[in-house]
């Protein structure tokens, strides 16, 4: 199967696409029987240093309902200068510019290695990037100080022509005017009142074109900046000003009585930010960056009252339908998120507080607009500082690793239809011939808007095979899918990236083996997980788990080899062997388990899960555990309690946390100070090795993981213990009687038990009907 693995990897490298099935079942019926849907993980802007964009525009199929883009899969008649669309079979004339093409003189988009190609569109004036800071001032002084410094630092990272704006909020919301000299000026809004976009624009004086200016400058394009210039200014003009302004930011001056939370008008602040951009720069790449240090406590979008004695809602409250403000707040933020998305802007949330900050209610803002969500304990931590800094990291060309206002269009050959997408996107509600009636994720459309994305942003896209069983596809037929992503590059160019992929059709009856072999269990696990998490947003946790279990059982029934009623005979082929284990860990993951997580944390985890690429997603599902010992080089070990040994150092990466765990002996040695003795330098190295590795991960990952350094018996060890497979618990410790490993005090089932049950169910006659 090496060939398939390589194939998969190649495809991912080249196109940023991973399909659950790399050979497609050729009929609808068969496809549904495969249990795992035909779907793919698409990383639209996967970094391709080797792929320079071409400086012209793509050639489109002339059929109005198709408009597919010329690609290597198209048949070309070089003599007649015609090409046939591989989706609708329309024959199209090449445009005049292509007059000189021939077999030996092909444009890039016809070369097979350019199944993914990027066009730069020259039309239209480039619009600058916009960064609108929305800053909470109800912070402790050192927190605020740290935040101010981070913000000031970020100014130096922005391109000089980027527009920046500043909104601060506490009890009131202040929109700072940046153009004024001398006196600093801000527009203040009450934090308790929801305002319509129109009102906001009226109040900010945005609706009325600046009267004195207009007559003198008839030029349309210039007028717009002049209107909004008061609040959004090119960084190079107001760098100093803004730095001072940030420096002078004070804590919200309104007194906070004993026993109360500060009044925080996050909802209104966001609403104003959205309204401001909506009125001034619709459909231009813009980032609203919300920095908050606590839950919204007043006005629309409030999550909790200001009485400290009433705690912020927990999962328990939510289950009991006891979260007073949740529904209303969620509605408020959803409304904002949708508006933002419609304008092509994105919202980031940087929430740093020890308690919850209302991410549950606000999650839709980043989720629907492709913004980031960062959760930390304090702005004064490296977690926040570095994460924030990383937002402004640049690629090898010196451009930000961020893109704006993307639309993703999916075109399929006629045997396929698009069922939906899961990721940081919203539907554009574009119906078309290739839109399936069945929805998986966000469906009912062939186009989605992704307002903010970066090279790792990954969407799960789900398809439905619609070819009828009685209309077999000829041998060697291929299905094709074209992904067209329009976006605003961080260099302010508009670009289009086109990825066209094709896979073979196979008849399930005759070629099941091929299909099995072409199963990408990693992609499948992530895709199924996304479906599960997507469901979990709306359904009860246990229902989702049941659904997952049933899918797993069905898959095992379909692809397992066993004798009826004989669990011991159950076997899975290599291409499926890891899948149940992924499901096991997925079941235990914070994406589906809310126990021990606050609603905010769940939202945070789910947020990242829905946008990371396959590798990162897999880490999230099944954390990676490395072992460092004197017995050999560092090695990955089973994520199992049996891996926890006294003479080992463990490094666990759960994506969100990096845990370094010193085994009992190691910890004692360290306490004894051996590492400081020259003769035990190797011990020192041993201690250092995981640290270095951790650093490497920390450096590369966004958001920066929580870094935990603990040891046997440490309270922080819980992070490790809660993740490993509880193969040894207080229930079976003596039964196993091993000296190795550490018992986990839990009633959770272990992987072994899980697998036993799975086998039993898979081989039983009782088929799950669903």
């Amino acid at each position: 199967m090496a060939t398939y693995l390589e194939f998969i990897q190649q495809n991912e490298e080249r196109d940023g696409v991973r399909f659950s099935w790399n050979v497609w079942p050729s009929s609808r019926l068969e496809a549904t029987r495969m249990v795992v849907p035909l779907a793919c993980l698409l990383t639209p802007l996967k970094e391709r240093p080797d792929l320079p964009p071409v400086q012209y525009e793509p050639v489109l199929c002339s059929r109005p309902t198709c408009k597919a883009i010329l690609n290597p899969l198209c048949q070309v008649d070089y003599r007649a200068k015609l090409w046939a669309c591989n989706f609708c079979f329309q024959r199209n004339q090449f445009p005049p510019a292509y007059a000189g093409i021939s077999e030996v003189n092909q444009p890039a988009e016809l070369m097979p290695q350019f199944s993914t190609i990027e066009y730069v569109i020259q039309r239209g004036a480039p619009s600058p990037l916009i960064f609108l800071y929305v800053v909470d001032t109800c912070l402790e002084d050192d927190d605020l100080q740290a935040l101010k410094e981070s913000l000031q630092m970020s100014l130096s990272l922005l391109p000089p022509d980027a527009l920046v704006g500043l909104i601060t909020f506490g009890r009131m919301v202040q929109v700072h005017e940046l153009s004024c000299e001398g006196i600093s000026k801000s527009y203040v809004f009450r934090g308790t009142k929801d305002l319509t976009a129109k009102q906001i624009q009226d109040m900010l004086g945005l609706t009325k074109p600046a009267m004195p200016v207009q007559p003198m400058r008839p030029a349309q394009p210039q007028e717009r900046p002049s209107v909004s210039s008061r609040f959004l200014q090119p960084i190079h003009k107001i760098d100093m000003n803004l730095t001072d302004l940030l420096g002078e930011l004070q804590r919200d001056p309104w007194p906070v009585p004993q026993g109360k939370r500060p009044l925080r008008s996050t909802g209104v602040a966001l609403s104003i930010a959205v309204g401001l951009l909506e009125g001034t720069f619709p459909n231009t790449g813009a980032r609203i960056m919300l920095f908050t240090g606590g839950p919204p406590t007043q006005g629309p979008g409030m999550v909790v009252g200001d009485e400290l004695k009433v705690p912020i809602r927990s999962w328990h409250d939510i289950e009991k339908d006891n979260a007073r403000f949740m529904k209303k707040a969620t509605k408020h933020y959803e409304m904002l998120a949708n508006r933002t998305a419609a304008n092509g802007h994105c919202i980031d949330i940087y929430a740093c507080a020890l308690d919850q900050t209302g991410l549950l209610e606000m999650k839709c803002c980043p989720n629907l607009t492709g913004g980031y969500m960062v959760m930390g304990d304090s702005f004064n931590t490296s977690l926040f500082k570095q994460t924030f800094q990383r937002i402004f990291s640049k690629d090898f060309n010196g451009n930000f690793r961020m893109a704006f206002g993307a639309t993703l269009e999916v075109k399929t050959s006629r045997e396929l239809k698009v069922a939906g997408a899961i990721g940081p996107c919203v539907s554009l509600n574009v119906k078309g011939p290739c839109v399936s009636e069945n929805e998986l994720g966000v469906g009912g459309t062939s186009q989605w808007k992704i307002c903010g994305l970066d090279p790792t942003t990954t969407l799960g896209i789900y398809f439905e095979v619609v070819n009828q069983h009685n209309a077999p596809i000829p041998q060697g037929g291929r299905g094709a899918i074209q992904f067209v992503t329009h976006y605003q590059h961080s260099s302010t160019q508009r670009r289009i990236r086109v990825t066209t992929v094709a896979r073979n059709w196979a008849d399930v009856q005759s070629q099941l083996k091929h299909i099995e072999a072409a199963f990408d269990q990693e992609a499948a696990a992530v895709l199924m997980a996304r479906l599960g998490v997507f469901r979990a947003e709306t359904e009860e946790g246990p229902d989702v788990l049941r659904w997952l279990d049933r899918q797993l059982i069905r898959l095992c029934q379909k692809f397992g080899q066993y004798n009826k009623e004989d669990p011991m005979s159950f076997r899975l082929s290599d291409s499926f062997s890891l899948y149940p284990q992924f499901m096991f860990h997925l079941r235990r993951s914070p994406f589906l388990q809310v126990f021990n997580n606050s609603p905010d944390e769940s939202s945070y985890y789910r947020h990242h899960f829905a946008r990371q690429d396959l590798t990162q997603s897999l880490i999230m599902i099944q954390p990676i555990l490395y072992s460092y010992s004197f017995h050999g080089p560092p090695e990955p070990v089973l994520l199992d309690s049996s891996s926890i040994l006294a003479d080992r150092i463990l490094l666990m990466d759960t994506f969100f946390q990096i845990v370094i765990y010193l085994g009992e002996t190691i910890a004692q040695w360290r306490k004894a100070g051996y590492q400081d003795m020259p003769e035990y330098e190797n011990f020192k190295h041993l201690l250092q090795a995981p640290l270095d590795d951790a650093q490497e991960i920390l450096q590369a990952r966004f958001p920066m993981p929580r870094y935990i350094h603990t040891e046997h018996g440490g309270s922080q060890a819980r992070f490790l213990l809660s993740k490993v497979n509880p193969s040894q618990t207080h229930n079976n410790l003596y039964a196993w009687g091993q000296e190795t490993g550490a018992p986990i005090l839990t009633d959770d089932v272990s992987l072994q038990v899980f697998m036993d049950h799975l086998k039993k169910l898979a081989v039983s006659k009782i088929m799950c009907s669903c």
């Binding site: 005017e177 001398g182 000026k185 801000s186 527009y187 203040v188 809004f189 900010l204 001056p253």
Partner: protein, 1094 residues
């Protein structure tokens, strides 16, 4: 008829004062008659400096006082000074005469009616001591025909004024009057001499002659009119004049003259020695002499207007009522000054009538509140409500709780009763005061208001002396003084917390109009220095008051001026629909701490808005913002709002232009005075609850709906200032001066005032700038030393003479330094069973204050005409009641006025003619609303001068004479075209320049060489280094200093179009808007009274 006399008398009084007292009491008529004229005169003369006319009178009467004559001569000149006209140029007279002429026609009718008889002088002289009385009386008589009437009935015919003798003299004087012109120089002297004899005639002649001539000269001014009329009259006058006296009736023509003369006549002798101005004086002397009421000859009939048919008396023309013979405010004021200005007014005695507000006097508090704090319409209250109803005299007190005192008087002592707080009656909660009776050896006290017996707390116990007084009575202000303050305990504070020092918030309109007119720049510049002069308490080094700044147009801009900032921060609130305060910390700051930031802010505001194009403004949200700011800061305070235009921007309190002149004189006219919406009232209530006082400075270029905008200042105890068409060059001084004064004045915040009364009467109605949420507590968000509250009382039981009636006004307020205090004013009044006592102890100025406020409130709910009629009716009833019950029997044709109220008609006429009740074509709706609310909180002195402006001749008296020149009556007749006059009414200040003023005067005053080069409408006199210029400017300054608002000077040239404006203030004349002249009104009044009597 004799009424007139009252007016003239003025001059004499000065000296007479002493005499007068006797007077009052003695019945006028009789005594006078009896008494020898001469003596009295003596008395009179003294005072009169002001009257020029004296001379004439002198003449007539002169005879009597032989000695006088010489004096008279002397007087002659004086007289001139007094009368502009007489003064110098005969010529001038001419013109003036012209004026008269016009009136004459009118007057004739009067004359006819009057004819007669009359005169009576009522007995009412009361006040004055008897002895003098006699003298005076005579004098009066002489002066006024009145007296004459008594004796020589005949004279009456004269102008209807009675004094026979006087008549003669009067007649003599007549000429004068007629002559006005003639008098002047040449004749005067002769007259003087002539006096002794029956010179009158002679004089008359000359005068005529002269007068005639003048007419010619006058011709130019009042050409046609004067010409003809004058001659007629004058002719008749002169010749007749004498006759008149004799045969009163026929002489009517004379009458006018006579009256004039008449009066002069008598006094002259005496006066002469002292002073000149007779004509008036005579009348004055009578009238003024408070004692007697002056009688007006019924003759008025003449008052054409009123229609009564005058007597057919032949000489129609002559019948006219002589303006000089009717009671003259000038005379009354002058008399009071002379009589009562010299000694301090000691408040120890119950029911004393204080000197007039126009008199400078010192007050010694010996148990009753100073009249500066409380003035009553009557100091003698009828014992029963029946009596009160019969008299129709409103019982009201005008209270100015925080009145400023002259430096010689000590402000109220502050009493600290420690934690227990001020001692109060358990039942009625009245505060300890000098009238409380200690009983049982001092262990208890009986409340003087409700008679409840209360225990004296041990720490307050003190033994009583043999008179039943506490031994420590004189050590404790609350037991010996009429006014004092208590320190309030925490129980008296809002929320039971001692108040935080108040704050001032300056809220500046920065819309296009404000910026363009230069207001914003001017204001910001001024504030920089003005902030150093915030009111402070006692010897505090710096004011405890914090300040905040807001600018606004369609949106509001708040400023953070925290001392730690390098630059102020501006915070814009656009959500005017739902106003809030965007910041707490740094909005209200201490001036000295944040000076740098504030200065920077004030420097930048004009720059920031220099290019604004925003023309729309909001208003209610601004007030709301200020109020919310104070609420957030948990303190009381004051908003200074500088606003330019009708708030038409979309916001609460948005107004539309509803100015509609067509509504005037319709039933809907009242809507012009009512606020457009209830929103402002609601807002004002919130302000009051927060102790937020609003001072509004308006700078409108057009209609701003003052009626609505002033609701908030009005209900919060604030002030409204209005500068129409503000231009920095022209109005800067006035605005800045008002602003400085307004910012610096001491204010009490978050005040509640309660007036308690002894059993039997009860405060039932309140007028002023405040809000009342119940029927007894006057709530004032702010109260300054200029604001008054007029309180009306009604009976709810019998009073008795022995106990009298007590008032206690308690004001709980927060001082500028944030101290909570109670200020207590006590006043004891007499009670009477005789109506005469009531009339004898009235105060017309206070009465007018009440009636004006009553009427001005009435226009909110009733058509203006109804209000006017009500006033006239009430006044007629008051006077009729007097006539019926108090005056000595006399002919129904006689108009008899109580001495204390003889000015009631003239003043009332002024009220009726004011722009609120009778708007002229040029008066805007805003002006009316503005004046209406202004009057609502005026004190007595202000209403007095507001309704009857002071007209001061500047060039009559020698330049060296530095004292304020005696005023003349507000009538065009009194203007001489060779003189310069200053007119002020507390709001306006005019400098009227006669067309034939000497060049030298023009040069030294205006620095230009001729009359024609004087810029009309000039508002500043050039600073020139000569006596006259210094004197005039000095006088202007001193007038301004007396008033609570800066009066902008307007130079009006005779015959210039601005003169129309000026003439509006000549309140004795017929006004362009239809207001009756004094004479006409008096006749009308008389008619009304007669109707009531019959």
């Amino acid at each position: 008829m004799n009424v007139n006399q009252s007016a003239p008398p003025v001059p004499p009084f000065g000296q007479p004062q002493p005499v007068y007292p006797g007077y009052h009491q003695s019945s006028y008529g009789g005594q006078p008659g009896s008494t020898a004229a001469p003596t009295p005169y003596g008395a009179y003369n003294g005072p009169v400096p002001g009257y020029q006319q004296t001379p004439p009178p002198g003449v007539s009467r002169a005879p009597a006082s032989s000695g006088a004559p010489p004096a008279s001569t002397a007087q002659g000149p004086c007289g001139q000074t007094a009368y502009g006209q007489f003064g110098q140029g005969d010529v001038q007279n001419g013109p003036s005469s012209g004026v008269q002429m016009q009136r004459l026609p009118g007057s004739q009718p009067f004359a006819s009616a009057p004819l007669a008889p009359v005169v009576s002088q009522p007995a009412v002289l009361q006040p004055y001591g008897p002895p003098p009385t006699s003298a005076q009386v005579t004098a009066q008589l002489a002066g006024m025909q009145i007296s004459g009437a008594v004796a020589p009935a005949p004279p009456a015919s004269g102008l209807g004024y009675g004094s026979p003798t006087s008549l003669a003299s009067a007649s003599g004087s007549f000429p004068n009057s007629g002559l006005y012109g003639s008098y002047p120089q040449g004749q005067a002297p002769p007259l003087g001499q002539g006096h002794p004899g029956a010179q009158p005639p002679q004089r008359s002649v000359p005068p005529q002659a002269s007068s005639f001539t003048p007419p010619a000269s006058g011709g130019p001014r009042m050409p046609s009119m004067t010409g003809p009329l004058l001659p007629g009259q004058s002719f008749g006058g002169p010749p007749v004049s004498q006759p008149n006296h004799v045969s009163s009736p026929p002489p009517q023509a004379l009458p006018p003259g006579t009256q004039m003369t008449g009066p002069p006549g008598p006094p002259p002798p005496m006066h002469s020695s002292q002073q000149p101005g007779y004509q008036l004086q005579q009348n004055g002397s009578f009238g003024p002499a408070r004692g007697p009421q002056s009688n007006y000859g019924s003759p008025y009939p003449g008052a054409a207007t009123f229609g009564s048919q005058p007597g057919p008396p032949q000489p129609l023309p002559p019948k006219r009522l002589d303006p000089d013979a009717i009671p003259s405010p000038i005379q009354v004021i002058e008399d009071d000054r002379n009589n009562r200005g010299s000694e301090p007014f000691v408040t120890g005695v119950r029911g004393q009538v204080p000197p007039l507000v126009t008199t400078n006097f010192l007050v010694k508090d010996q148990g009753n509140a100073s009249p500066r704090y409380i003035r009553c319409t009557s100091y003698n209250i009828p014992c029963t409500s029946d009596m009160a109803k019969q008299a129709q005299v409103p019982l009201a007190a005008v209270i100015k709780p925080l009145a400023r005192l002259p430096p010689e008087e000590a402000s109220p002592y502050v009493v600290d009763h420690g934690e227990s707080g001020p001692l109060r009656c358990n039942r009625c909660k009245a505060y300890m005061c000098p009238f409380m009776q200690f009983v049982e050896g001092g262990r208890r006290f009986q409340c003087c208001f409700c008679s409840c017996i209360n225990d004296v707390p041990p720490q307050y116990f003190q033994h009583l002396d043999h008179t039943g007084k506490r031994v420590d009575a004189y050590d404790r202000p609350e037991l010996s003084l009429g006014s004092y303050e208590f320190l309030a305990t925490v129980d008296y504070c809002k929320n039971n917390k001692f108040p935080i020092p108040p704050a001032f918030i300056f809220m500046i309109d920065v819309s296009y109009n404000a910026v363009r007119s230069g207001l914003v720049r001017l204001l910001c510049e001024e504030l920089k220095s003005l902030l150093d002069f915030l009111p402070r308490e006692g010897g505090a080094e710096e004011s405890a008051i914090r300040v905040g700044f807001v600018t606004y147009n369609k949106v509001l801009h708040f400023y953070n001026v925290k001392s730690s900032l390098a630059q102020p921060q501006m915070m814009v609130v656009s959500d005017v629909g739902d106003m809030f305060v965007p910041l707490l910390d740094g909005f209200l700051v201490n001036v000295s701490e944040s000076r740098a930031v504030i200065t920077s802010l004030l420097d930048q505001i004009p720059e920031m808005f220099a290019d604004t194009r925003e023309t729309e403004t909001v208003f209610a949200p601004v007030v709301q913002a200020g109020m919310e700011a104070l609420k957030a800061a948990e303190c009381a305070g004051k908003l200074f709002l500088f606003h330019t235009s009708l708030p038409i921007a979309e916001a609460p309190g948005k107004l539309k232009n509803r100015d509609d002149r067509k509504l005037i004189n319709t039933d809907k006219e009242k809507t012009l005075f009512q606020p457009q919406s209830g929103a402002y009232q609601t807002l004002a209530k919130e302000c009051v609850a927060q102790g937020c006082c609003v001072d509004l400075f308006l700078f409108p270029n057009q209609y701003v709906d003052v009626a609505t905008l002033s609701v908030v200042p009005q209900l919060t105890g604030g002030s409204v200032y209005k500068y129409a068409c503000f231009q920095v060059e022209n109005d800067q001084e006035r605005f800045l001066s008002d602003l400085r004064r307004d910012v610096q004045k001491v204010v009490g915040f978050d005040a509640v005032m309660r007036v308690r009364t002894s059993t039997g009467i009860r405060a039932v109605d309140f007028f002023g700038a405040f809000y009342m949420s119940n029927t007894t507590d006057v709530e004032l968000a702010g109260l300054d030393g200029d604001k008054t509250v007029t309180v009306e009382f009604k009976h709810d039981d019998r009073l008795n003479e022995e106990n009298g009636a007590l008032l206690q006004c308690a004001l709980l307020y927060t001082s500028c330094a944030g101290q909570r205090r109670l200020r207590i004013h006590n006043l004891a009044l007499n009670c009477c069973t005789q109506l005469a006592d009531l009339y004898r102890n009235c105060e017309t100025d206070t009465l007018i204050n009440y009636m004006a406020k009553f009427a001005y409130r009435g226009v909110l709910s009733s058509p203006v005409k109804t209000v006017r009629d009500t006033l006239i009716t009430q006044c007629a009833q008051i006077l009729a009641c007097y006539r019926k019950n108090c005056a000595s029997p006399s002919s129904a044709g006689q108009l008899i006025l109580p001495e204390c109220m003889k000015l009631l008609p003239v003043y009332l006429n002024c009220v009726l003619k004011s722009e609120v009740l009778q708007p002229g074509a040029e008066v805007t709706t805003d002006d009316r609303a503005y004046v209406r609310q202004l009057v609502t909180s005026m004190d007595v002195a202000e209403t007095n001068v507001f309704f009857y402006p002071r007209l001061l001749p500047l060039t009559k008296s020698p330049i060296e004479n530095t004292t304020e020149p005696p005023a003349v009556r507000a009538s065009e007749e009194r203007l001489s075209n060779g003189d310069i006059y200053l007119l002020e009414n507390g709001l306006n200040l005019f400098l009227w320049v006669g067309a034939s003023v000497q060049q030298g005067v023009v040069q030294s005053l205006f620095g230009v060489s001729s009359f024609s080069q004087i810029t009309s409408g000039l508002s500043v006199l050039p600073v020139l280094d000569n006596l006259l210029s210094k004197k005039v400017r000095g006088l202007i300054d001193s007038l301004r200093a007396q008033r609570s608002r800066y009066m902008k000077l307007i130079v009006v040239k005779q015959e210039d179009k601005l003169e129309m404006l000026f003439k509006h203030f000549l309140v004795e004349d017929k006004s362009l808007s239809g207001g009756a002249s004094y004479v006409d009104f008096l006749c009308h009044m008389h008619k009304e009274i007669r109707q009531l009597l019959s």
